[in-house]
Subunit: 466 residues, 2 copies
């Protein structure tokens, strides 16, 4: 990096000049090509140089105005921490393939219904286009949500429901309401990586409970409740992220019994619930929204751009959470966003869209699983629905290394340890079957798997129950 910087500063390399090829610079400096790639990527992130796809790196134009700076790309050298997958998959451009990301491709989303809803929005009352809206969010959408909760056997009244800027924001509000720095929080191991990121922001102690095909390991769950007195447990019951497993009814009952005995509150994030072929038990249904808080959103099924989530909980908690949302966001979610969501949901096409999506995903899961098996990659289980496959790599391959190598060729993977509190999922990887259609992705995977060589921490894996 300093060699290139010196050449640019000394005008040996001027704006628009092509930089030495990676191979030639590696050879002349006696370093590995991946070191040069990393240096070039960092210089590009700093705005000093620019990458042109398929053509190499060039010195960036001399910056006289801050406007001339290119967008900051995510730093590829950042630690493979809970932010790694989100930053890489949110911030890289459309040419980067993202089998590691957590959402469907645009063409799988209900595009026509969204466009219809946006056109109708253009004719809405001027107040809807300009005003803040109510603090709990649009009544019409909350009413629609109550009927959807009833489908999950969750009986709630309208004052037990509030809309939020996103599902994540809903979870965050609940954490702000319930947690103090130093509290202990339980998560599944593995769990959705952003639960870990969120809980870090709350400065709490995180304990993972090994996840089994029917839910968390109940014996361990009970042990941790007795020993560590956690304040909160965050989980997905239906189509657990990343494993795709489903909570069984007996496990749900035992969890709630233990929770009641130790006054534990549970956040049940139902973000993938609509992808289930048949409805599975919900903790919120068994408990009756007493100590269980239901979180949901439409980002996976309808649109992640039109952002809106919700919280269903005890009415007195909702009252406090509404105040907290006013204090921290001034009001509820964008009325424009909730109007679009409500129109698509009420339009009648949503059920058909989800039916088709579920069928398409059933085929795609099977096809992708078969293809992964030819690479020695085995699904931990075949999920009942959704778009994730939680897979074990062939023995001897380290998922983090595979992900780093693939990223150099513009493929974002989701290595197991970003999901694991105990860091015992180094042999695992989460695949998004809907994002694996491009043959280039499979070529990159094949090469990355070949170069991966670090041994798996077998002891650790046994310990985590994976």
């Amino acid at each position: 990096m300093s060699a290139i910087r010196a050449k640019i500063a000394g005008r040996a390399l001027a704006a628009g000049d092509r930089l030495p090829s990676i191979r030639s610079l590696a050879a002349s400096m006696g370093v590995s090509p991946s070191t040069v790639v990393e240096a070039y990527d960092r210089l590009a992130a700093e705005g000093q140089i620019r990458a042109r796809r398929g053509s190499g790196f060039y010195v960036a134009p001399t910056v006289t105005s801050p406007l001339a700076l290119s967008e900051v790309e995510p730093r590829r050298d950042r630690a493979v921490d809970p932010f790694w997958v989100s930053r890489q998959s949110l911030d890289t451009d459309a040419a980067v393939l993202k089998p590691g990301c957590g959402w469907l491709p645009p063409e799988w989303m209900p595009e026509a219904a969204l466009r219809r809803a946006v056109r109708a929005l253009a004719r809405a009352d001027e107040g809807l286009l300009t005003d803040y809206g109510s603090t709990r969010g649009a009544l019409v959408l909350r009413r629609l949500l109550l009927t959807r909760l009833a489908d999950d056997a969750i009986t709630a009244s309208i004052d037990q429901l509030m809309l939020t800027g996103s599902g994540t924001q809903g979870t965050d509000l609940v954490c702000r309401f319930l947690l103090r720095p130093g509290d202990t929080v339980l998560v599944d191991d593995p769990c959705y990586f952003n639960f870990r990121a969120l809980l870090r922001a709350h400065q709490v102690k995180i304990i993972g409970v090994p996840y089994t095909p029917s839910g968390p390991d109940v014996a361990r769950f009970e042990e941790v409740l007795a020993a560590d007195r956690p304040r909160l447990y965050i989980t997905n019951s239906a189509l657990h992220n990343p494993t795709g497993a489903t909570l069984s009814l007996p496990t749900a009952h035992r969890l709630l019994t233990a929770a009641a005995a130790h006054d534990l509150t549970i956040i049940e994030d139902d973000i993938f619930g609509d992808f289930e072929p048949e409805r599975s038990p919900r903790l919120a249904a068994l408990d009756g929204l007493n100590r269980v808080i239901r979180i949901g959103s439409f980002s996976k099924t309808l649109s992640a751009s039109v952002r809106c989530g919700y919280i269903a909980a005890r009415a007195d908690w909702i009252e406090h959470l509404v105040d907290l949302q006013v204090a921290t966001s001034f009001g509820g979610p964008s009325p424009v966003a909730t109007e679009i969501i409500a129109r698509v949901l009420a339009g009648g096409g949503y059920r058909k869209h989800m039916d088709e999506l579920r069928q398409k995903l059933t085929r795609t899961r099977r096809d992708v699983a078969r293809k992964l098996q030819t690479l020695g990659i085995e699904p931990w289980l075949m999920p009942r629905g959704g778009f994730f496959l939680w897979c074990r790599l062939a023995s001897g391959q380290d998922a983090t290394q595979v992900a780093r190598t693939a990223l150099e060729e513009d493929v974002v993977l989701a290595p197991g340890n970003v999901f694991s509190v105990s860091q015992t999922a180094s042999a695992f990887m989460r695949f998004n079957v809907a994002q694996m259609n491009d043959p280039r992705m499979w070529d990159v995977m094949r090469r990355a798997l070949k170069t991966a060589s670090e041994p798996i921490d077998r002891r650790g894996l046994r310990r985590s129950g994976l």
Copy 2:
């Protein structure tokens, strides 16, 4: 309340029955009419009875499904705390008049430009309608913002800027990044009430510095910095909320000198900046976004429904704030929202809209000030721009009492103490001149002022410098 409840429970009053008139029930129970109004309002909030405008109260239909419940209205009896104005003005219906609220009526907003932008959105790429978008928010809008910052003499590069879900959310993210429970934070006295609500959520100690017509009282500011070592100061420099005052250049210089000596960080919330006739000094411009963080949004000038705010700060802080926004909201603001904002801003009509708005507001401020003076209400100063008038009531009148009385007649006012950390603004009230066109509002005000009788706390007022 229990008398009515008993009648409903005992079927003496059935669904759809009209309740006794307020006057007759007050007479028969030997209580004041306002006690009956309060009881009816609470029963309505509980869903037991319904108000029909101009026709009285009726027993609500028997609820068999939670769907049949009416929307929960804000509780009118809640304490006049920092949430009072926001909850009352966000959650009451359109028939309630809101001279206390902090936004313009829909007909003052650029409706045609918004509709054009929404129609264009209906034709946008499917990815824009369905994907999460980048963590810093749409590049096109960030570039537009850089040119607008340059108008305020603030030089920033693209990596010093991120979009957020709202201006408040931007402030909240910065607070999460900088503050720990127990820290001390400085605000102006009076200040925007939601700063107080937000800081409560962060569990910090809040100290107010009296605000003068040219900014905070600098001598007091320096004293507090030396004695209490606050971590943060939150302010509006241009068109301060609620006073409409403007920070002077010498005061800005002294504030920054003191801030540097005591390593104080400053959040400069510029939400009303575009309402200024000519640009006044910004702390962020003098400081060069070193220890000053600029927050902004489009909720006051363009749309509060299409929500989007931004943070401009040191690049290394932005990097952390982006992670924090991913952890707590999963990503930046809605791409749909930022696309609408960017289209309106780039459309060229925005400058003309703001020119017209400023002229209209100049006339309206003058007319409303004159009208208020006929009620004995005197503006503390005539602001250079914006829609607020911070006014002193005639001596002997308590603003909180006036606001409570007016609320009984469906008029939301903003009593001084919701803005005051020291609770020394009981003789003051903030008026939104754009929301005072309805003659009914003036009748209600006149009556409410008449019934107000509590003496002003003169000592307190002198102490606060007001």
